[in-house]
């Protein structure tokens, strides 16, 4: 059995000339909470849809729970709980009827868990799904995914419409009831604080390509932001350099490890090191994905806020 819950190699999905996913290499360890991050249109939902057989890959290969997405889709779907981006289920059915509908597909379905989550999330089980609020629709989607005894949970924007209390509850349920049981959670979200709270791995995707895939602990321990000043821009390169941004005569370098060595190298090139700072997931995300836009002064290439 593979140690990876999701493994893609050069996965690609094109829509005409648009390359939504472009040679994606993902390695999601089993038993992990993996935060799959990216800006709007980065390719997150397309990747998820491709992994679950809703879209056919243009190129590359992928295995989910050791099963090939082209050949063994039904085996994958039987072991995967999915909360879709749009949170749309059958409007004519009540949550209780949706439970009845869903239960038949999954031999490991737990009625006990369903009753518990219905109470915990305060879901109106006998109102029609179409009449529910956005938050309650999201809760029903979670209930259906969480109770099917899935080895892998794929959650696309899981907290849409949820209030902070339910969001907190959901994250606790994910960690305490599912990750502790050895299940894998693959979480696509824009809510970096929530991902940072429960994820142990993160992957950042941009333009259909993976920019960074690492342990969150690695970011906390090894990633550093180096601010330096120089009259002229020196040419620097390092395998650990993740991103570099310029603000007039000041430079910001995001390095993955060996920050002191990198700073020393900058000094040899005549730069003055101003500070070396630990970084949050949000800072890494912005450092990798933020586009340089004109700031108030109108100068291109400047950074609106410090990285």
């Amino acid at each position: 059995m593979s140690d990876l819950a999701i493994h893609t190699q050069g996965l690609a999905k094109f829509f005409g000339k648009t390359r939504a996913v472009d040679g994606l290499d993902l390695r999601v360890p089993r038993g992990s909470v993996y935060g799959f991050l990216g800006r709007n249109g980065a390719g997150k939902t397309t990747t998820i849809k491709t992994l679950l057989g809703l879209l056919r890959p243009t190129a590359g290969s992928a295995q989910v729970l050791g099963y090939d997405i082209r050949r063994d889709l039904i085996a994958i779907l039987g072991r995967t709980g999915f909360v879709p981006e749009n949170k749309t289920l059958f409007d004519s059915l009540t949550p209780a009827q949706l439970v009845r509908f869903n239960r038949g597909y999954f031999p490991n379905w737990s009625d006990e868990l369903a009753a518990r989550y219905a109470e915990l999330f305060e879901i109106p089980m006998h109102a029609r799904f179409g009449k529910l609020s956005m938050g309650n629709k999201t809760k029903v989607c979670h209930l259906l995914a969480l109770c099917q005894g899935a080895e892998l949970l794929v959650l696309d924007e899981p907290n849409v419409g949820l209030d902070p209390v339910i969001t907190d509850l959901l994250l606790r349920v994910l960690v305490e009831d599912h990750v502790s049981e050895g299940r894998t959670v693959f979480l696509s979200s824009h809510q970096l604080a929530e991902v940072e709270r429960i994820a142990d791995w993160v992957g950042i995707i941009e333009n259909g390509k993976i920019l960074l895939e690492t342990r969150l602990e690695d970011i906390r321990q090894n990633y550093r932001l180096i601010r330096a000043a120089a009259e002229t821009a020196p040419s620097v390169s390092s395998p650990h350099l993740v991103a570099a941004k310029r603000l007039e005569n000041f430079w910001s370098y995001l390095v993955a490890r060996d920050a002191e060595d990198f700073a020393a190298m900058l000094r040899t090139k005549g730069m003055t090191i101003l500070e070396i700072l630990p970084v949050s997931l949000g800072e890494v995300f912005l450092g990798l994905t933020r586009k340089e836009v004109p700031c108030i002064s109108g100068k291109l290439g400047t950074i609106p806020a410090p990285v």
Binding site: G53, L77, T80, P84, S92, Q97, Y105
Partner: protein
Amino acid sequence: MYLWKTWHDSRTRVVVYILAALSVGLLSGLEVVTWANWHTLQLTLERPIHRNNWDFYGDLTFDLLRWQVIGYGQVAALLAGLSLGASGVGREYGAGTMHFVLTRPRARTNFVFTDWMTGLTAMVIVVGALAYGVLPFLWFAHAQGPGNILMGLPSLWALGAAIFGLASFTTLVGGSAPKGLVLSVAGVLTYLFLPAALYEWWHMDTLIKAQNWTLQILSRDSYHFHWSVTVFWLAAAASFLGASLLWIKFREV
């Protein structure tokens, strides 16, 4: 599961259709028998009843009832086929629920088969309900019982299956019930009027001959079982089923 869901969604409509079909059958049967009895009564008043008169009106009543079954049956097959087909699995695309359906661990084709099973069962019951409404009057009107009237039903069911298949397929292609309905009505109208138009414009009569052959089951004189035409409509239904299976298998969500 999906069978239960499709039944849950369509049950009210199907029950209404069945009641409507039974009512039409009963009312038309009542109307015909009343008409025949009135004329028989007139004969009775005029002169002593002659057995031939009874037989004459008995036969006429029988024929009229048979025409009711064939006439209303084709309308029922058309309406039930279009309506039930357009409410098939294809509408899940438009409702935004197809991703939910297709991430259940079943082959995609399974959902089309389930849809066809419930839809065709409902269509067969609805079209048959017209005949069931007329049956008591047939026994009343004719000593030999319904007999060959029921022989016309399989052809109507086959026609209904083909119309259901067309609507089900166009709903899959269109991605919603309204689009599916519009496309399937367009298909039916094209089938009905294109041969006549070609004949009018270019005097091409091949299509109109073929159309007449396929629609002979709708003739008022048709109370025999038409093997070949029934097989034709069943083949049409099967081809729509095949096209639907291919479509759902390869269409992305």
